[in-house]
Structures are given as C-alpha cells and as structure tokens.
Symmetry: C2
Subunit: 242 residues, 2 copies
DNA sequence: TTTGAAAATTGATACGGTCCAATTTTAATC
DNA sequence: GATTAAAATTGGACCGTATCAATTTTCAAA
C-alpha cells in the first residue's frame, strides 16, 4: 500500500510543502519533477491530481502548480485519513476512550426499503442493531444499523458490543471503504434527549446512509443520531470531476 | 467541455447502464470496451475511475467492473452536477423561485482570522455582506460572507442583491469551482428564529468555509445558517484515494 | 515607453505499451 | 466427487510519447 510510486511522490511533496521548501508557493513544473524524482511524468501527474483533489494544491494550465495557502496553516483539515469508514475510526477524538452500549439486538424480516437498499429478496432477514456510542463514558451517538444475515452469519451480540467493521476486516478479511451518506439536522426527540443528555432545545445531527464492502456489496443501512456538539463534517469540494 | 473522449465514454456508459443494457450488473472488461469504443484502454480507465469515484460502479481486480445497484434505483443522488458552487446553484429546489434580501453591507478591516483565511495583509479591507436567502419568499438561509476588496473592487450593493458568483463569471470571467466546507448543527439563536421563522426548539444547520477561485485564490469566507429542513448534504465517500 | 505578435513555458488529453496481482476458470489428479 | 495445480481473465501501476491549449515571457516595431 505504501510502496506505490505516486504515493511516495505525494508523501515527499507534502513534506516539502510543509517544510516551506517552496517559499514562492509554486511547485516545480511537471517535467522538472519527473526528472528530479526519476519517474515518468504520468506518475507526477497522478500524484498532483490526487493532491489537487484533496485541495492541497491548485493547478493552472500555462501557469504552474500552486500550494493552497490554507494547507500550511491548517494541515489537520486535509487529513481525511483512516483505514475504515466506521464510527470507531471516524471520531478519533484526541485519545478519548470510545465505548459501546448495546440497546437493542434482533433479527427481523427486511422491509421493502431495506430490500431495495441492501439488495435483498423478500424473504431475507436482517439484524437490527441499536447501539449507543460513548466517548469517555459520555453518550454521543445513537446508532441504528441493519445488516443482512446472509452477509454476516456470525454476528452475535458479543461481537456487536465491539466494532463490527473491525470484526469484518480481522475475522473475515473484508473491508468497508465506501459509503453513501446524507447529513442533516433535526430537533431532538424525547429519546435523543434521554440517551444523549440533551435539552429539548438542543438538536441532533443525523448521518444516514449505506456502507459498502470493497466489491460493492451493500453491507449496512445506518442511521446515526449524533449529539450536535460532536457533528462536524469537513469536506473539500471541487467541481472539476477529476 | 463536452467533447472529451473520456467524458463521452462516461455519458454513454451511464446511459447504457440506465437502459439496463448490462442486466448482469457487470460491465464488459476494459480491453473489450477499449476495442468496441475504438479508444485506448487508458481513456476507458479514466472514465471508469471517475465513475467509480462517484459511486456509480465498483471495480474489482481479477473479477470485473460492477454497477452499483443503487444507481439504477436512485440516480438523482449521484448527480452532484452544477456549474458553480454558490447557493444559487446548490439549492435548485424543484423550480422554486430563489430570492435575496440584503440585510447588511459594509466595508471593514480584515480581522486576524480573515487575514489568515483569505491570505490578506494587515491593512486590507473586506466587504461584509449579510443576506437572507429566500425560496418562494420563504427564508431559508442567513448568509454572512467576507470578500476582499482588492479581489472584487466593483462589488456594489446592487450587485450583492443578486448572485455574486454569477456576476464574477459573467462580468469578470472568473469561476468558483472549489470550496472547503464544514457542516454542523446548533440550536437556533434569537435572530435565527426571527429571520428564518423557527421556534426555539428548532435548530439551524451551519455550513461554513472558504470558496476559492479556479487558480486557488481564496475568494470568500462564508457562514450559512440554514433552516434545518433545507439542509441535506449528500456525499459518496471512498477511502481509495483515487 | 507602449503595444502587439511570436516564442517559450506549462499543464491537459490521449495513445499504446509492459509488467504485475487478484480472481476466476479450467484441467488434472487423487 | 473433491482437491489442487495450472492457465486464463481482468483490473492496477507505471512508463514514454505526441499533440494541444492556456498562460507567460520575450522582443521587435511603433
């Protein structure tokens, strides 16, 4: 994973940028980079494309490649890194201790909507798993997930008390690297208030969507009701389509 | 813009997918596509990569390329299209009539934070523009923006009553295609409640961040307090880095 | 000094090739 | 039949080239 040419270039360039090596905010041109790194221009282009997509640099034809001034100042914003997409990975908040409390666990027939979203047959069953996510014993997320039985036959309550995605990758060698999510907000309902310790004037953030396995199999439909103070979704958007 | 090879391939493939031409949910292999379209495999790869990044297809080495079942069902979710990033473009809600009410307009010295975010000198000035966005006369967003004077010397109140981004692209030929945004939620404050017609139990969604010009110049620091019923941010996330 | 055309620079698109790695298919063996 | 090994399939990485398009630089003419 780490020995790809274009990734090595990226790592090195990021470091050089961070070390202020390019004090005019401009990178060398692609042909020079190609020569100095001793790799093809295609690989340079690939590295620069990814970095541009992440918002670290801007490219302008005829002019050159420029460093995003914000990258130097606020590098942390540009690190969407992580090995997985699950909550256990996403909220790596400053060494706080994550916890899970199992609220509900049952096996139910898949509803029409779940059949569609998870690509199931009418007689398929799913786990319904409702959990409370904690950070240093403080509740922050009410998470309700639906997972097809036939994909994870071994999903026992004891497994569910830990990270399902980690279990998947460690035990079954499958990884969850893609998701389609919607983010929105709502007033908190009574259950939110009880479980998350909110007043009736405090809202919840909602992240709902579908997690996919590597090969595109829909794994889980998830609905997360997040304590509003812990919801902060950062994103760099580019309309360039590549 | 529309005559690029890889885009033509993308358009055609999307249409063929939508027409159920690949009823086994599997696309032809790259080499066949290359031959049948009469283009190089590289171009096929490029088209497929972009489509994979958009979540339309999944690729699996050794196995093939597969259609995301959700694409057929819910195609609208996969259209992040648009020519600009501004609010005027983002919320194209079903032919509703957008409107703008100017609340505040002044020229002020750039604060420390603005100096950093917009890359300004200590003696630079910015416009502070506060506007209420309407949809069919219903208020949905309180938008506060800061734009450097030196970038848009001609930003008069009359311009500000319309779309600033459209003005930029039509009059000055510059386009805003990149942004760095954070999305979060908060209880509504009194002003939110008055301007957006919310009760004290209803929250606002907040989208704040920086808009960039094509060449990487930071154009605007923006803070949008959105009526919670209108905040819905859809996104496909992939950890594959390309 | 200013203007404007030509030249140089620089990223973008596209081609086509080599080799590799994961997976599936096929065939052989027990 | 089941198991295993070999072969074929299929996407991934990387290289090097040719041509184009936007921008900047150079330099001669006015």
């Amino acid at each position: 994973m780490a020995d790809l040419v274009y990734r090595k270039i990226m790592r090195d360039l990021k470091e050089r940028i961070f070390n202020q090596e390019f004090n005019d905010k401009k990178l060398p041109d692609e042909r020079s980079l190609s020569e100095s790194y001793g790799v093809s221009r295609s690989s340079i282009k690939r590295a620069l494309n990814v970095m541009a997509q992440q918002g670290i640099i801007f490219k302008k034809r005829g002019s050159g490649t420029f460093i995003n001034p914000l990258y130097l100042k606020n590098q942390s914003l540009f690190n969407y890194e992580g090995t997985n997409l699950g909550v256990t990975d996403s909220f790596h908040l400053d060494g706080k201790r994550p916890g899970i409390k199992l609220i509900d666990y049952q096996v139910i027939p898949a509803s029409k909507e779940l059949q569609q979203d998870l690509f199931l047959e009418p007689d398929d069953f799913v786990y319904k798993i409702k959990r409370l996510r904690l950070l240093d014993d403080e509740p922050i997320i009410i998470e309700t997930g639906y997972i097809p039985i036939k994909i994870m036959p071994g999903l026992t309550p004891s497994v569910v008390k830990g990270s399902i995605f980690n279990y998947l990758s460690e035990i079954e060698g499958k990884s969850v690297t893609k998701s389609f999510m919607s983010i929105l907000a709502e007033p908190s309902n009574q259950q939110d208030q009880e479980l998350l310790g909110l007043s009736d004037k405090e809202p919840v953030g909602i992240m709902e969507g579908i997690f996919f396995l590597d090969d595109g199999t829909p794994l889980e439909v998830s609905n997360m009701r997040v304590h509003y103070k812990y919801l902060k979704y950062n994103t760099f958007v580019s309309l360039d389509e590549e």
